[in-house]
Each structure stands twice: as C-alpha cells, then as structure tokens.
Symmetry: C2
Subunit: 556 residues, 2 copies
C-alpha cells in the first residue's frame, strides 16, 4: 500500500512533512517521495497521517460494550491499541472474566493489551463473584498480551506492606511487567512509599502540582479524559517539551454514546488542541509514549520497521478519522469499517451470572428499625462521594421503614447475585428523586451485585426479578410493577451483546424512563452504580450492609 499526498507526523522529531508512506508485510517499509508505486495507491492529499492511537488506560466494561463492539466503535476513530484493566468483569467472574476479555479480543484488528486486576475483590465489606489472588495474578501475567498489574487502588495496603498485595506486586516485577498506580492526592512520604514498590503510573492526578510531584518520582502520568472524570484542562499546563515523555492520555471510563458522537482518543486530541496544546505533543502522548511505557514495541510512531498502524485524519484541529490501517490492512475507509469484525460468542458461563436461587418477594425489602433517625446515603450531584445523613424515616405502625418520596427518601437495597446467598443489604437514599416505581442495575461497583432503589417494596422485587430474567442490565419498573424500559447487559451482567449504537439508544431510553419516574441525576444508572462502592466516602451500601467508609465499618 502506498499513501500519497498526505502530511506525516513524526513523533520523534515533531516534524509534519508532506511525504509518501509505503507499507509492506504489515510494516512501514519506507517514507519519502522516492516511494512512488504500490499495488494499492491511496491519495490522502490534504490530510494528515498519525500513528494509530493508543488508549493508555481504560475499562472496556464501562462502555457497556463487549470488546468486539468496542473495537467496532473506536476503530473508526483511529484507535489501534488499548491498555485495558478488566477490573469489572474480574469482580464478577474472576480469572474466567479476564480470560473472556483475552479470548474475545484475539485476532481483532485492534491490539487489546490488558493489565491484571490487583484489587479483586476491592474490600471484604461486600460479596464479589470473583477473586484474583496472588497465584492468579502470577498465572495471568504470563499471557503475552498482559502488560502489567492493574491500578493498585489499595494504596494504604502498599504503604503498610499488605502481604497479599506485595505478592501480587512481586509477581509483576518478577515477570518484568509494569505496575499501574491509582493514588489520588497521595503525596510526600506516602507517595514515596507507594513508588518504592515499583508502581510507575498514575491516572488520578487533578492538579499540575500533583502531576509534577509524581513525575519527579519517575511516574508516568496518564491524563484522564473520560465521560465522568475530565482532567485534561487541569493537567495540560504541566506538560513541557522537557517532560513530555512522562505523560500519556487515557479515557478510563467512557460511554458508548460519547464514543459514537464524540470519538475516542481522537476526541481527547481534539480537546487538547482546543485547549492550546501543541498537536504533535498531544499526539505523542497518545501514541509513542504509551507504546514505550507499556512496551508495545514497534508501535506508536511512523518510521520504517514499525507496524503499519496508522490513522489518516482531516486535520490537527478536528482529528476526524477517514482511513485507518492496522498491521498493513485497510480497516476503515471514508470513515466506514471495511472488514468484518469477528469474535466468539460468549459461552453460557458468561451469560448466566445472576444467581438468585429464587424470585424475590416484597417481604425481602421490608426493613424494621427501632425508633429514631436512621442512616441515609446522601447523593451529591455530579460526584461519586456521598453524604452520611441521619434522618427520621417514615415508619409503618409496626416499625417498618417506608420510602418517603415527598422528602426524596427512597428505599435502597443491594442483592447479592453471584453466590445465591440470599443476602440483601438495606438502606435509604436521598437525591435520586423517584416519585414511584424502582430502578435496578446489575452494574454496581465494584462487586456488581444488584442495586435497586424504589418507592414500593413490591416494585423493587419486580425490578430485581426482571433483571434476573434478562441476565442483568438496567431496568425501570413503574408503580404497577411493569417494566417500562430495560437495557439488557447479559455478559457478566455488565456488558451488552449489542452494538454501541443500540446500547447508546437503549441507555437513553432507560434514562428517559427513570426520569419519567422523577429521577434527578443526569445519569441515574451511573449514580446508582456508585452507591455500592465502599472505597469512596462517606456512606455506601453493599449486600452486607451500610458501610461507613470513613470508619471502614458497618453501621447498624
């Protein structure tokens, strides 16, 4: 293949030169005007040729797409490699979940690299479906597409030298693979203790000072720009020509709808340039730098001998991808996928992960509580941290606690769904806004039990049962117990089998249905999914009960 007439971005020299590029045997054979013939000659005049884009850090499950559908969505935006942490599916299915991500990405024209989840289960305050112990970490690290240990969120564990965590870290070091960090606001001596075990990235920085302190310690900073957390504007000022090798770009968590409408890494580049970044420097952070950091050799630059992974974009302002070539094969042309993407259909073990043993009854959601105020989870708009409130609830004569939509107090429950234990944690939540009915989700960080919020116990039971029937997902049930809208996520209860377009559309439908019931948050299911995450302050609910995150203990 010969591309003629385009401008080629050289991330080594930061030049953008009008040169031809010749491709053979999946590799870049040569660059220059002397290369003038090819079996396939494509005129890309007026356009710019970049190395294939690389996402340095994301969770594919957050898109609600299985990998092949994720690939279908992002290849059209020029992404040719990702480094993904399969933390969510690992919480449902353990090693089997990671194996699914590996096997279902083999042979796709997008390089899926993975890190092994380091903190599954996240805590012992909840019941996860899977566990990734040190021996499993060691085993998974052997896979050639596993590039390291995933974000070590348990930084207190690192600092205190937690034995199991140290075994996982040692396994990664012994395998010669990378250790990813997750250390929001960690600083000073604690940061140094964290670094001293060899952790070398962080994607939780929110300020220039934090990023610079971490680069000083040798860390490579992944500037995160996802659907929820957006750090690009705050961190770009930290990047200079002298330290640019210490920065990468990553999406972390991105919704299917945004992938379609906005783009993937090309959207981050577009935003970076709009914020004033040098375009080639931004491109380097989404190509060469992640390739070097994660040792994805032969990727991240357009020079002879490197893989022919490239994207042709309209210009360095919009970054709209027209042509994408992966390993020398034309994958996307005129913005359209040119090749069929095939992945094995998920086996039944991945599709039958809602294990309740019996249909739930309204009685399962009856809660008796002595007199006086009870703990209530207070949603803070736009954040995943919550308030720890104590409010006098509405009670029946015999002491049963009731929802009270007038004061925006809803019943909340987390139903253990992995082991058929029948365990249910109960609480109250304020800020969801439902006036009647219930919403339920089997996406509930990190253990992904079923979380349900509603006004009536009968409807909550109906919602959970409806979820069980479709193998997991999001459902909205009205006060009659009828399902108004649902987004099935049958793969591990957290991913759809549909395309990004269908997922985006159905997510809009369930969101609209929830809003009809009165839901207040912009993304009610996203808000709901974080109410179960007991590592984020201040009050959360798991299947084992209400967790006071500050004290790290159960209430009641």
């Amino acid at each position: 293949i010969l591309l003629t007439g385009g401008h080629i971005v050289n991330v080594f020299t930061h030049e953008i030169l009008p040169l031809n590029i010749a491709i053979q045997n999946g590799l870049i054979a040569g660059i220059g005007k002397s290369y003038a013939a090819g079996n396939t000659v494509i005129d890309v005049s007026g356009q710019v040729i970049l190395p294939g884009l690389i996402d340095a850090h994301l969770h594919i499950e957050s898109t609600l797409l299985i990998p092949v559908e994720f690939a279908r969505a992002v290849l059209c935006h020029g992404t040719t490699a990702v480094v993904a942490d399969p933390h969510e599916i690992a919480n449902v299915l353990g090693e089997e979940g990671v194996s699914f991500m590996l096997s279902s990405t083999s042979g796709l024209p997008l390089d899926f690299f993975f890190t092994v989840p380091s903190c599954v289960p996240a805590t012992d305050m909840e019941t996860a479906g899977g566990e990734i112990d040190a021996a499993t970490v060691e085993r998974l690290l052997q896979h050639p597409r596993v590039v390291g240990l995933a974000e070590v969120m348990n930084y207190p564990g690192v600092i205190s030298g937690d034995r199991t965590l140290m075994q996982k870290i040692a396994a990664a070091r012994n395998a010669g693979k990378m250790l990813d960090g997750h250390a929001p606001l960690l600083s000073g001596l604690e940061l140094q203790a964290y670094l001293s075990c060899g952790i070398s990235t962080d994607h939780e920085c929110t300020t220039v000072a934090e990023a610079l302190e971490k680069t000083k310690g040798g860390m490579n900073i992944i500037i995160r720009q996802g659907s929820a957390a957006k750090n690009l504007a705050h961190l770009l000022p930290a990047v200079t020509k002298a330290n640019m090798h210490s920065f990468m770009l990553g999406s972390d968590d991105k919704e299917a709808a945004a992938l379609l409408s906005d783009g993937h890494m090309n959207a981050i580049l577009r935003q970076a340039v709009a914020l004033g970044a040098n375009p080639v420097l931004a491109i380097q952070m989404a190509t060469l730098n992640p390739a070097r950091h994660y040792r994805l050799w032969g990727r991240g630059a357009l020079v002879p001998g490197y893989r022919a992974d490239l994207v042709v974009v309209d210009n360095l302002t919009r970054f709209n991808a027209a042509l994408v070539i992966k390993d020398g094969q034309i994958i996307v042309r005129d913005g359209k996928l040119e090749v069929p993407l095939k992945a094995p259909a998920p086996g039944l073990n991945y599709l039958k992960t809602i294990n309740l043993t019996r249909a739930l009854q309204p009685e399962d959601f009856y809660v008796i509580h002595g007199p006086g105020p009870v703990p209530v989870i207070g949603i803070i708009s736009g954040q995943i941290t919550t308030e720890k409130l104590f409010i006098e609830p509405l009670r029946t004569a015999d002491g049963e606690i009731m929802a009270d939509p007038a004061r925006d107090l809803l019943k909340l429950a987390v139903v253990e769904r992995h082991r058929g234990s029948g365990r249910i944690g109960h609480g109250l939540v304020r800020g969801l806004g439902l006036k009647s009915g219930a919403i339920a989700s089997s996406v509930a960080h990190d253990a992904h039990n079923i979380i349900v919020a509603g006004v009536e116990a009968t409807v909550m039971a109906a919602a959970v049962n409806a979820l069980a029937e479709i193998g997991g997902g999001f459902v909205v049930v009205d006060k009659s117990g009828k399902v108004c809208a649902e987004l099935p996520l049958p793969v591990a209860g957290i991913m759809s089998l549909e395309t990004a377009g269908v997922v985006a559309e159905r997510l809009e439908m369930v969101t609209a249905a929830a809003r009809t019931l009165g839901a207040l948050p912009e993304q009610p299911f996203l808000t709901l999914s974080f109410l179960a995450l007991p590592v984020i302050p201040h009050l959360k609910l798991t299947d084992r009960g209400l967790v006071d995150v500050d004290a790290f203990c159960f209430l009641s």
Copy 2:
C-alpha cells in the same frame, strides 16, 4: 544507608535539589529532608549525586582487560552498568567466548549486559576461530543479561536480505530484544531498508545531519567518544530538549590507560560539559536513556523503587567520583574500591588459543613474486583505512621479495592461529617505519590471527614463536631475534589477566620498544591490528591473502 547534604540530580525533571537519599534492600527508599536517619549515614555535603553511569556501547576486549579488571577500573569512575558487544572474543572462541564474558561477569557489583555478535566471522576472506550462526544467536539471546543483537555491521547484507543475517535478526525480534546498528553514512532509501528490519541504534554518526536523519527514522543515537573515534564535539549540537530522549553516550573502544587517567563515562560527561552541554542532559544520556533503550528496568534514575545504583561526584564540571553505591552496597569510597572483586579464573580453553602446531621458520616468511610492481598496503596516519599501492619491491637474485626499510617497505604476514592450518598470508606495508626487527600481535581485527610486520624473516618467525609461547599478546623483537618487550594477552590471545595499571604500563613499554625500532604510528599495535580487517577500504591482509576491499576479492 542515608546520604545527607548532597545535591541530587533528577533526570526526569532536570532538577538538582539538596535532598537526603535513603537506601534500603538495595533500592532507593525515599528522597527528601524527611529521611533523616540510617544505620550508615554518609555526609556528602557539597557533592552531587547522580544515577550510576551506563555505557550504552563498548567492546570490553578493546581495553585489553578481562571483565573483572575492567570493572575494577571503571567502578571508581561511577560506571555501574555497561552494554557490551563481545565481538572480539567471539571471533576467537565463538559461543564459548560469549559464555566466558557472561560467566566471568556474574556477581560483580557492575551490571554487565551483552549483545550477541551478529557478524562472526565478519567475512569469508579470513579464518576466524569462532562462528556465531543463527542457531547460536537464538540460544544466546535467551540469557537474561543478553539484551539484543550486536551491531549489524553487514548493512549490505540487511539491504539485500541476506538469509542467515535475516534469521539472526528474526531471532532477536522474536526474543523481544533490541537490534543494534552500525551504519556509517547510510542514508535515504538504504537507511530506511536497514531500519525496516527493526534495527534501532547507531553509534557511527559523525555529523549532525546524519544523526538527525537517523533520529527521524526512530533510531537512538549512541554518541561515541572512545580512544580512537571521538564524535562528541560533532554530535552534541544535534541534541535538543525535544529530542534528547533519542541520544545516549558510549565509549565503544577505550584503552586501559585512558580509563585510569581520564575516566570512563564520567570522562565523557566532563568533555560534554566542557563543550557546552547542559550537565543534566548529558547525564540523562549516560543514565536514563540507555536504561530505557536497553530495557534495564529500575536503572538510570534516582527515584523511589529504582535500584540504589549511584555515584557521588565532586561537581558537574569535573565529575570525579568519590562514592559509588551499587544495589545499595558501598563499592567505592573516597575514590577507592571498598570490596573485593572476584571472578572465576579463566579455564585452560580460554588460555590456550594460539594453535600453530609447529614453530615457525624463517622460510615461512619467504615470498617469491614475478617481476614488476607488487601490491603494498599504505598506512594513512590516524586512520584505519589504507591506500592500495603498487610498488616495485626489493628482490633477491632468485626473486624473493625483501623488506626495504630505506623506502619504509616492511614485510607483513598474517598467520592463521586458530585451527593449526599453517596458512599464512603475505604482503608488504608502508608507513610502519621499522628500521629493523619485527612487531607481532594476536589482536588483529576481526579474526584475531597473528599479524607480524618486520624487516627480517628470521625475526618475524621469532616474533610469532614468542607470541605463541606467551599465549598471545604484543611482542617487539629486535634484529637479533631477542624479545625487547612484550604484553602478554593470554585470554583468547586478546585480553590480559593483569590490572588496568599493569596493562597500561606494559602497553607503554611495548610501544616504546617499537618506537626504538623506528615505528612511526602513535599506537603501532593499534595500527597493526587493523591491517587485517578486510571490511575497511582499501587494501588489507588476512591469512588467506591480500584483500582488495573495494572489489572484495583477493589480489595475488
């Protein structure tokens, strides 16, 4: 160990800050004023702490020292890691030679990494002792301290797709290891062809333009500053803050005497700063950059979690090393080695490599040639290229060709010394200057046969026999056949068992003795050793005869 009062160089941020540095379990535990106690506290006030220095490319054999003596010489200068190409010993002993370099460097407090020689033997115009074929390359690449394939000097072979060479290259790529280049003046399409096989370094650049063209192709440039070739002054102007990650420093070939008097990598840093380089940028090229390029993880920077490999120097002008710590152990203090260095004594197979089967006789150096001019190798002062001359020689009545010191024409012979073949190549040389006697050497690139130049055939035979007796080295024999001076190099006939000090002293003695006989070149044995190298234009002599390098064929 706690170092207090020093200024620490941070190669990530290019800061030089007055901070303490704490070391535990061989690693850097933390940096900062908060670290205030240690079992061993060393005050390094007024001094500067750098990461341990790394030589990105050298041939240890060129120092004439065995690795343990090399380590003894360079540790005192702050070198804590080297990437060495054992090309010379491989030409003598093949895989066994490389194994010697690996086994004799195990456990030393200096990290010896090796590349597998790619071009042994260099040509089929000479008889080498060893061969490194593709299967051997593949086998040696498995060793954890082997980081790649050594400089691929046969660039025409790469460009033409030479089958055996491609197998060696594929072996390195499959092993996920680096490919070093050697491509003086290669440019344009030929350079791209060379790069397209994955070769990623070059240490033969001599101009800014050449270096920049190569970095544009993704190459990392090793700026070479050795005893013979010195490229630092010419290449430093190519290095900028934007491309500094593409440059490393290496010594390539350095003499023992220079290591002692001048230093090793610290000498290159001193020269770089004297030439106007930013000191931290220079340091980065001798620490972080080679560590990253050769994947020597955990090395090349002073940050928590990295190996405690460091050197304390007086300042960033002189770079005199006072204290050297390797893997958290104090190795050098007050400039003196503090620990014993131990390596196994070389086995007899390494010490008995001169295989002549019989003592040589004067008749072995008689050459009859028909009438008319004969080819003569013309030495060019200060260069390793030679002139191809045709001169009417002095002849005896029966046609035997004689030396003619009056016209500076000496007899030259290369005696095959590996296989006992008895093969001797004959020629004449101009420019050595001997008035009588002979000098002989078993260091003769690349096959390391015995090369001898002299006036009288009797003395040439005596010189070769004297060399055989000491197992190889350099000898000077006067016209009576008496050995005036010798430098034994019994290890493979190319390395001494003595310290750098003894080697430097004896090299000076043999040089002085050769000069007494009339030798003209500044380093007569270095000049002699290159007269047998048939890959350097224009006329050379091997055991198989005179090689016209331009035509790549034998004259006779």
